[in-house]
């Protein structure tokens, strides 16, 4: 379509591009600041105020040395990886099975099961009763409390359901005629056909678990060795609990802790965020389709 270039159009375009550029920069600057601060000279970092656009002093990786040799951080990293892998793999599998079941047309239980699952979107027991159930299961201070309750939620079951429903029934029928059982139909025929949706559900499970800190904070109160990285980061960044982390590793004097404390904060932030940011551009094309798949179509 050819647009006539009027004066008001030009003004609008400048305004529009300008606003978007400003917002784009606002999104990047804080992250850039953290990255640059993490390689700055810790002595200069102490007195600096404002955004750091380039490393202060000579660029150094000392902070990363401290962070990556710190047993608490490494342990947290390991825990997070374990939670992410276990939760995303098992969770996606169960969500796929649930979505498959509720999308079957010749299955008596499909409709009641859909209602059973969707009701949990409308109403829930809330924080304390859920806590009581987890406690009753004996999950407090164990890794199960982090992995198991987060395996499935109704929303992603519905996303899977609508993906299955968009497949032509012929695939399933011909497989059935050839004698394939339910499990075979699901895993060998239908799941490969809805791969984009499976990837989306898996990806959101990974991101959700990677960034999760709250369940661990209430379910693992006395199991610091099982804490995910985010919870360790919380005590560092927000509760400002640097000394605990540093003295356990090296037993340095106070002024050194104060000086390197800030640097360590930035380095931990980078270490804890970078994997997500590296994976993000690859995941982007999936999540845009994923959200649109989510049943809400304009």
């Amino acid at each position: 379509m050819i647009e006539r270039t009027t004066k008001s159009r030009v003004v609008f375009c400048v305004f529009n591009y300008g606003l978007l550029i400003v917002f784009g920069f606002l999104c990047v600057i804080p992250l850039w600041h953290v990255l640059m601060a993490s390689v700055s000279d810790p002595r200069l970092l102490m007195g600096s105020a404002g955004i750091i656009f380039a490393p202060l002093g000579r660029a150094t990786l000392d902070g990363y040395g401290i962070v990556l040799s710190n047993s608490a951080v490494l342990l947290g990293y390991g825990n997070t990886l374990l939670y992410v892998v276990a939760n995303a793999a098992a969770g996606t599998l169960l969500t796929a099975i649930a979505g498959f079941l509720v999308s079957r047309k010749n299955f008596r239980l499909a409709k009641p099961l859909t209602a059973f699952i969707m009701f949990t979107m409308i109403f829930n027991g809330g924080l304390i009763p859920t806590y009581m159930v987890i406690r009753g299961l004996g999950f407090i201070n164990t890794r199960w409390a982090i992995i198991v309750p987060a395996l499935m939620n109704a929303y992603y079951v519905i996303v899977m359901k609508s993906a299955f429903e968009q497949l032509p029934a012929a695939y399933e029928e011909s497989a059935k005629l050839d004698g394939a059982g339910s499990a075979r139909i699901l895993f060998q025929i239908l799941l490969p056909l809805i791969k984009p949706t499976v990837v989306v559900v898996f990806m959101f499970a990974v991101i959700g678990q990677w960034n999760s800190w709250y369940p661990a904070s209430i379910y693992l109160p006395r199991a610091r060795e099982k804490w995910p990285l985010q919870l360790i980061m919380r005590s560092l960044l927000i509760q400002n609990d640097v000394s605990k982390l540093l003295t356990t590793s090296s037993g340095d004097a106070n002024h050194v802790i104060n000086m390197t404390g800030n640097l360590v904060k930035y380095c931990v932030t980078v270490v804890g965020t970078l994997p997500i940011l590296i994976a993000y551009p690859f995941a982007q094309r999936y999540f845009v389709t994923g959200i649109t798949l989510g049943g809400v179509k304009g």
């Binding site: 949990t120 409308i122 829930n124 304009g298």
Partner: protein, 320 residues
């Protein structure tokens, strides 16, 4: 068992449960873990709501604790901080609804006006990114920037001429800090759904209107916005349903006793009294109050949307 190639809907309705069991044995087996999961982690807590009517003692359990009727609810409604908490919850939520929600639509419309593809793509990539950063990191940044020597504090004080202080400890600024950091994190991401809806708007309508002399702005107003109305309404309903459950993880990370007067919301109140002070019965009652209001809001919003726009979220499908 192979007779299903041409299923007649009538016949499947008539099949007895036993027949269905025999036909779909595998499916029933697969359903067992799914049902068990939702029973344990979603329905059992609903049963646990009974402790809202009890003076609950964990060592005595639900069966052994004393029933106190609606005492816990009365305690909440007569709690001196009840109105403060309710006001904070509503204000924080409504600020999101009235400011952040329309802004995500405007952002999507702005993106749509960009014809230069690489630029559009870059802005999209960059603006979706903060959504994937963890709340802990974001609140860490907020804590740093709003400290007495932080960047945001510096800019704020330069504009208003006020003396530098830690903005996070001043209750007057909590709502603004919460809203702005929310916008920073979610504006791009929450616009995705609208961007997708806008791309499916018919180009023919636009061309026809352009030939008839409609200006660009006029076309946005009379074609684009009405076309994406179902999406807008759907998202609005989803938001209304969670009006009383504001992003409480973030508030937990950002608030402190000095800002309770504006930052304490229903869910943080529940968390503090329930988990930290072990007042299980009382905090369950508060949570139940919250859930019930949320459910009522969701169902009401859904009802109105079905009535006026033919779009119902809870049915998951557009009526034609």
């Amino acid at each position: 068992m192979q007779a299903k190639a041409f299923p007649s809907p009538k016949k499947t309705c008539d099949t007895s449960l036993r027949h269905d069991l025999a036909m779909n044995k595998g499916l029933y087996l697969l359903a067992i873990p799914i049902i068990a999961f939702f029973l344990v982690f979603n329905y059992a807590p609903m049963g646990g709501l009974l402790i809202a009517f009890q003076d609950f003692k964990p060592q005595r359990g639900i069966l052994g604790s004393n029933w106190v009727g609606v005492k816990n609810f009365v305690d909440f409604f007569t709690n001196p901080s009840f109105w403060t908490i309710l006001r904070n919850t509503l204000v924080i939520s409504l600020l999101g609804l009235v400011i952040a929600f329309p802004m995500s639509i405007v952002f999507a419309l702005q993106l749509n006006e960009i014809n230069w593809k690489p630029f559009k793509k870059t802005i999209q990539t960059v603006s979706y990114m903060p959504y994937f950063i963890s709340l802990v990191v974001i609140c860490g940044l907020v804590t740093e920037f709003c400290a007495s020597n932080g960047v945001v504090t510096g800019i704020f004080c330069a504009i208003t001429g006020k003396p530098a202080e830690n903005l996070l400890t001043n209750p007057n600024y909590f709502w603004a800090i919460n809203l702005l950091s929310d916008l920073w994190q979610n504006l791009g991401y929450s616009s995705i759904i609208f961007v997708a809806a806008i791309t499916s708007v018919s180009a023919e309508l636009h061309e026809a209107a352009a030939i008839d002399g409609a200006t660009r702005l006029r076309r946005v107003w009379s074609i684009t916005i009405p076309s994406i109305m179902p999406t807008i309404v759907t998202m609005l309903i989803l938001r209304c349903g969670s009006l009383l459950s504001v992003g409480f993880e973030k508030i937990l990370l950002l608030y402190s006793p000095s800002t309770y007067s504006t930052a304490d919301v229903i869910s943080t109140h529940v968390q503090r009294l329930g988990i930290e002070k072990a007042q299980y019965g009382y905090s369950t009652a508060v949570g139940l109050f919250n859930s019930v209001i949320n459910t009522i809001l969701l169902i009401t919003a859904n009802h109105f949307s079905r009535k006026y726009t033919d779009t119902a979220v809870l049915q998951g499908r557009k009526k034609r």
